[in-house]
């Protein structure tokens, strides 16, 4: 078999996963897209391992390790998503803007309203 077939398939799968990570809004769907990207890398590892006839079986062993790490990642990721959902009743990733820099406002009034919003957020979190 030509090596090009699995390599191109892996590249296309990776791009589809990339699109999903960037375009999806629900955090669980972002995790699904990350799984697609990991699988593309796994396919590359297996294909190149079979191509090179590695005596250590490095590619397939690394694939197994990647699968285990993906399982750990999905467990932690879903725990975090659940916690976010509980704290703010939604798991849309583009609403999680607590760490974002506030937009630069030249006037003092804008900064004041930002501070008020931050206070409101704090009160909400404390409640």
């Amino acid at each position: 078999m030509h090596l090009v077939y699995p390599a191109v398939l892996a590249a296309l799968l990776f791009s589809i996963g990339l699109y999903g990570v960037l375009a999806r809004r629900n955090a669980v769907l972002v995790l699904i897209s990350v799984e697609l990207m990991l699988n593309a890398v796994n396919l590359n590892l297996v294909a190149f391992d079979v191509w090179l006839r590695d005596t250590l079986r490095a590619g397939q062993s690394l694939t197994l390790f990647t699968i285990a790490v993906a399982a750990a990642e999905i467990g932690i990721g879903l725990a975090i998503v659940l916690q976010v959902y509980r704290n703010r009743a939604g798991s849309n990733v583009d609403e999680l803007r607590d760490l974002a820099e506030p937009p630069p406002t030249p006037t003092g009034a804008g900064a004041g309203s930002d501070a008020a919003e931050a206070d409101a957020d704090k009160a909400e979190a404390a409640a």
């Binding site: 699995p6 191109v8 589809i16 960037l22 629900n26 955090a27 799984e35 697609l36 079986r57």
Partner: protein, 205 residues
Amino acid sequence: MTAPGFLSPTGVEIAFVLTGLVTLGAALVAVTTKQLVHAALWLVVALGGIAVEYLLLTAEFVAWVQVLIYVGSIVVLLLFGLMLTRAPVGRSPDADSGNRWVALAVALAAAATLVTVVVDAFRTAWIDLDTPQGSTQAIGEALFRHWVLPFEALSLLLLAALVGAIVVSRRRGGPDASDAQDASDAQDAQDAPDARGAVAPEEER
């Protein structure tokens, strides 16, 4: 080495391309569908297709591990996540964020670049599939002869991730904790009174 041409594909290649098309289609639907639960179910099709590709590449053990762990547990975890976050069953119009077109442009650029580079680099490479490369015996010997230390480190990582997931997702006893959670907490406390004795007074508050 004279590689065979692309115009006379072997049977394995035809099977690989067809399965690859199914996999790509399922992956596309999984990242574009507006029904959240369907996305997880299409992911099953994509992951199963990749397992078939592993089989065609004679990586038999990895294929079964893929089916067992990905399709068996990770997709189930994702479905749990979707249901615990009360994903709507029908179509949800806001599944995609506003920067979809930017994402599409980035993905197309990445695909074009990667496919160009890969095709240019490995146009003549030929995989010889006559001798199976991934039987369970071969992988097991390699894993437990050359990769024992990473394997053990990985088991430690899995344990840490498990404990971390439990700690992160556990609901701290607040005023808005639901009754069911309190009941399960009480059940846990009954099951392991000694282990939880130290932290129990803090959780009463």
